[in-house]
Amino acid sequence: MSMKITTRQVDGVTILDLSGRITLGEGSVLLRDAVRDLLAKGSKQILLNLADVNYIDSSGIGELVSAYTTARNQGGELKLLNLTKKVHDLLQITKLYTVFDVKDDEASAIASYTR
């Protein structure tokens, strides 16, 4: 199953609801393009909702890191929401869990962005 992204706005934060697999090829490219488009349009507060991401490979992990650093370098904030256990474990073993700002509740995630 390939990845799908739907976008919504809540209180100035752009939430990307991702579902499927973030892997080399389609999933990674889709995520990269979506984040770049948002930043280009000036939407710099981005929340990636990974609740329905059932699989991510090293390329997908790399893409999350690149999205995070790209947003940060442009003065933005990119956070992660609702990690599945598999994605959580992968971020733990790659020591990225503490690099990302990871949230498990949408309302408090929205409230945490700099105003």
């Binding site: 080399l24 090293s58 893409e63 890191v65 020591k95």
Partner: protein
């Protein structure tokens, strides 16, 4: 009496058939199954193009193999992911998607272990020169975690230089990985 017209037609047809068969063999995935003497185990080997479709094929085969061996869900995920990473390395970093280069993937259940070998025809890989993805200066890199994940998820990982190319052998010991054990 020899029918020359018919004979030359047959020759042309035979040549065409040989050519087509040759081309198909070149392009189509090749599957070989070996029944290993004196064992219940068998080894299946695929020769595949350097493409993402091949990566998916290898990943799916590993998943089926692990399920068939009665491995539990968490271990199936780890094996499948490690094998996918090895296939990605072979296709992307080894063969650089070169249409003239192939990857081979073999799958064997020895009874004690699942043994998966993935080989490419690339420039070769020296695992000792890979940067540590957990080092603070590498944490924010967008790549370089594949081999680390393979090593994290498998019980044994071996590298062999093929000149040209690299073969990775991934081993998961059964027993601890199987459901209910």
């Amino acid at each position: 009496m020899l029918d020359i017209a018919s004979s030359s037609k047959q020759t042309a047809s035979y040549r065409l058939k040989r050519f087509v068969t040759h081309r198909i063999k070149d392009v189509m995935p090749k599957r070989e199954e070996e029944h290993l003497a004196g064992q219940q185990a068998s080894r299946v080997t695929y020769t595949l193009e350097s493409s993402l479709d091949s990566v998916n094929k290898v990943e799916q085969t590993a998943e089926q193999m692990a399920k068939k061996a009665g491995v539990d869900e968490d271990e199936i995920f780890k094996i499948t992911m490690a094998v996918r990473e090895a296939a990605v390395n072979a296709v992307l970093h080894g063969n650089s998607y070169d249409p003239d280069k192939r990857i081979t993937a073999s799958f064997e259940n020895t009874g004690d272990s699942l043994v998966i070998r993935i080989a490419d025809q690339g420039k070769g890989l020296d695992p000792d020169t890979l940067p540590d993805p957990l080092a603070p200066e590498n944490l924010l890199r967008g790549s370089g975690r594949g081999i680390f994940l393979i090593r994290s998820f498998m019980d044994e990982v071996h590298f062999k230089q093929l000149h040209p190319g690299t073969e990775l052998t991934l081993i998961k010991h059964l027993g601890t990985a199987q459901s209910g054990s």
